[in-house]
Amino acid sequence: MTKALKFLIPSLLVAGLVVSPKDAQATRDTEALKENKFQAFKENKFKAFKEDKFKDIKRSRAPERIAPSAGFGDDGGFWTGQSKQVPELSSSAAGASLALLAGGLLAISGRRRRKADSR
């Protein structure tokens, strides 16, 4: 068991690294290599748009509720444009989160010692 763990733990770490966020260029390049896959994905979206599956909703949802600045298409309609591309991660929040995580782990796993007054 312990011998297996010696190899399992580094292997799991490496495997986890692979699916973790990568830098933008590497991610984009990987995606480009998978271009066919994403092309199919885009086509599916386009098909759904063409079929206008949501035409009932399109009528009932007032387009004026959807601000053009929110990025819902050029004509302000529903399902007629790409969704707004929004930042996935905030860099300042990333730094604070890393500090919070590291500090939290240190606090949780901090060394316990006898209290001075109980020695």
Partner: protein, 549 residues
């Protein structure tokens, strides 16, 4: 104080230094140059445009080699995982070979120039293959000189000739290929995430519309498309790394094999957490403000969920007897023990945590700022008995020096900070529309900046981290003691919690030097408070709120 660090732990440091520097160099080059533009050219030059796709392979294989190095350089005869020698001799602290580092710096400069020549514009004169071979060779030589600058050549040779590095190479390569293969699951996983989010919302809202084919979800007039990277895969990968690293580091206190259960629990929690994040995004966007949902909630809720899950997993593993090995007799009586790290860290952790949570609902002005003051103040009050030693020497030893350093930092900070007219306009509008409400908010903001933040951050970064980096029993380390390494790392950590990283690091180093010079934490607090007070007064007087809000 003599650091009592076991030898094996010391062996990490040179390799860690090599890995960290290589990562920084890789990021600098990756951020500066973009091979993507070469794709528009045909033939071999066009193929070079895809070189970035293989960069993760390099990172993953390097990580794999590093993680497996222990089996190569220090084979463990004992069958027990991670058996540490109880009384290992303390080796000398590692010192880089400066001449090799200088050569490495020159080579990196050359590599940087060569990268620019090959990838910085269109095709260069000559054969693309030859340029690529030259570039790869120079890159490998850069990595080699950095490695031997920190690690003994004999250790590198032993590592290179062992069979383990072949295994590590194979694991790294397979993991990279497997990782790319997981892209296949992005869309199915996004679809599953969409289903869970819709199921979470439907009991509360009647007008939830989901389109699995287009991966779109609408609530009221608010619509989102679940992008592949929002499927939850990245969070699952991150939590895997963190949980496995946690299990590896804390292995001696955990019960195996049941501790491995933490891994699937963490992965499932990360995926569910991502679904909850998207559900929250929908609610905020549909009921409060779409822009708030896009700009604040979307980019911060993921971090909040990730921190909550990771810390919960760690807390359960450390505290629950199902995972934790029976404590030693010394630790059985909880009332008689204390955890000094927690007392130094908790106020700052509450400060950071509350800022992350309130930041999810803040655009230009964080109207929930009072929560960022009340929480840490409460923690300081509840933990007050733990600061008895500090309070005995609470008066600053050299307040004039501390204030002078604080003022210098404050002036430099203010002058180098660019203005943000949008924030200035938003604050001006808030001031005009509700002077009383803004006055209350401003009161909390001043108390937070001048009192709460300096105390909490100095307790954590100088009181704890600076001394903990010198010795794990940090309470035994004098406030006058610090190593260059400790100042560097604690300042870098301090920089992480500030948006302006370089300025934050320099400010942190200045406060650390004040503490070391005066021998008191209170002087560092006074310096920090002085900086923040100066910035606050300057911003209020000039109306340039964006320097401070």
């Amino acid at each position: 104080v003599t650091p009592a660090v076991p030898q094996r732990r010391r062996q990490w440091r040179p390799w860690l230094a090599v890995g960290s520097l290589l990562l920084v160099e890789y990021l600098l080059i990756s951020l500066r140059f973009d091979a993507y533009s070469l794709r528009s050219y045909g033939g071999a030059w066009g193929a070079l445009g895809y070189v970035g796709a293989f960069a993760p392979a390099g990172v993953v294989i390097a990580a794999s080699l590093w993680l497996f190095r222990r089996q190569a350089v220090s084979p463990v005869a004992s069958g027990e995982l991670g058996a540490l020698p109880a009384l290992a001799p303390v080796p000398e602290a590692f010192r880089p070979r400066w001449s090799l580092l200088a050569i490495h710096a020159l080579l990196v400069a050359g590599f940087f120039a060569l990268t620019g020549h090959i990838f910085g514009g269109g095709p260069a004169a000559g054969s693309a293959a030859l340029w690529f071979i030259l570039w790869s060779a120079l890159g490998a030589f850069c990595a080699f000189t950095l490695t031997v600058a920190f690690v003994d050549l004999s250790e590198v040779r032993r590592w290179a000739w062992s069979g383990v590095h072949l295994l590590a190479l194979a694991v790294g390569a397979i993991a990279w290929l497997a990782g790319n293969w997981t892209v296949e699951f992005w869309i199915p996983l996004s679809r599953a995430t969409l289903g869970v989010v819709a199921a979470l919302l439907r009991p509360f809202f009647a007008d939830v519309v989901s389109d699995p084919a287009a991966l779109s979800l609408a609530l009221g007039g608010f619509k989102v498309t679940i992008a592949p990277q929002c499927s939850g895969f990245e969070g699952m990968g991150l939590i895997t790394v963190l949980t496995v690293a946690f299990i590896a580091v804390r292995r001696r206190g955990l019960r195996f094999p049941r501790a491995l259960l933490l891994l699937p629990v963490a992965i499932i929690a990360a995926w569910v957490g991502n679904a909850l994040r998207i559900a929250g995004l929908m609610v905020v966007g549909a009921t409060l403000d779409p822009e708030l949902a896009y700009e604040a909630f979307h980019s911060k809720a993921g971090w909040v969920a990730f921190c909550a899950i990771a810390l919960s997993i760690a807390a359960v593993a450390e505290r629950h007897s199902f995972f934790r090995r029976a404590p030693s007799a010394e630790l059985e009586v909880e009332l008689e023990t204390e955890n000094p790290s927690a007392a130094y860290l908790l106020p700052c952790l509450l400060l950071l945590g509350s800022a992350l949570v309130t930041g999810m609902f803040a655009r230009e002005i964080d109207w929930f700022y009072p929560l960022r003051v009340v929480g840490p103040l409460l923690a300081l009050y509840l933990l007050r008995k733990n600061y008895a030693d500090l309070l005995r020497n609470a008066a600053p030893a050299r307040p004039v020096l501390a204030l002078a350093v604080g003022a210098a930092v404050g002036i430099a900070w203010y002058l180098t900070d660019p203005l943000d007219p949008e924030v200035d306009r938003a604050v001006g509008h808030a001031l005009a529309s509700s002077p009383a409400g803004f006055g209350v908010w401003l009161g909390f903001r001043v108390v937070g900046a001048v009192l709460v933040v300096p105390i909490c951050e100095e307790l954590a970064f100088r009181g704890f981290l600076l001394r903990w980096l010198v010795n794990r029993d940090f309470t035994a380390v004098s406030f006058r003691t610090a190593t260059p390494w400790a100042v560097l790392i604690s300042s870098a950590a301090f920089a992480l919690v500030h948006e302006r990283w370089l300025a934050g690091a320099l400010a942190g180093a200045a406060y650390a030097l004040v503490q070391v010079r005066t021998g008191r934490l209170s002087d560092a607090i006074v310096a920090h408070a002085g900086s923040n007070a100066l910035i606050a007064i300057w911003a209020i007087a000039s109306g340039e709120w964006s320097h401070w809000v």
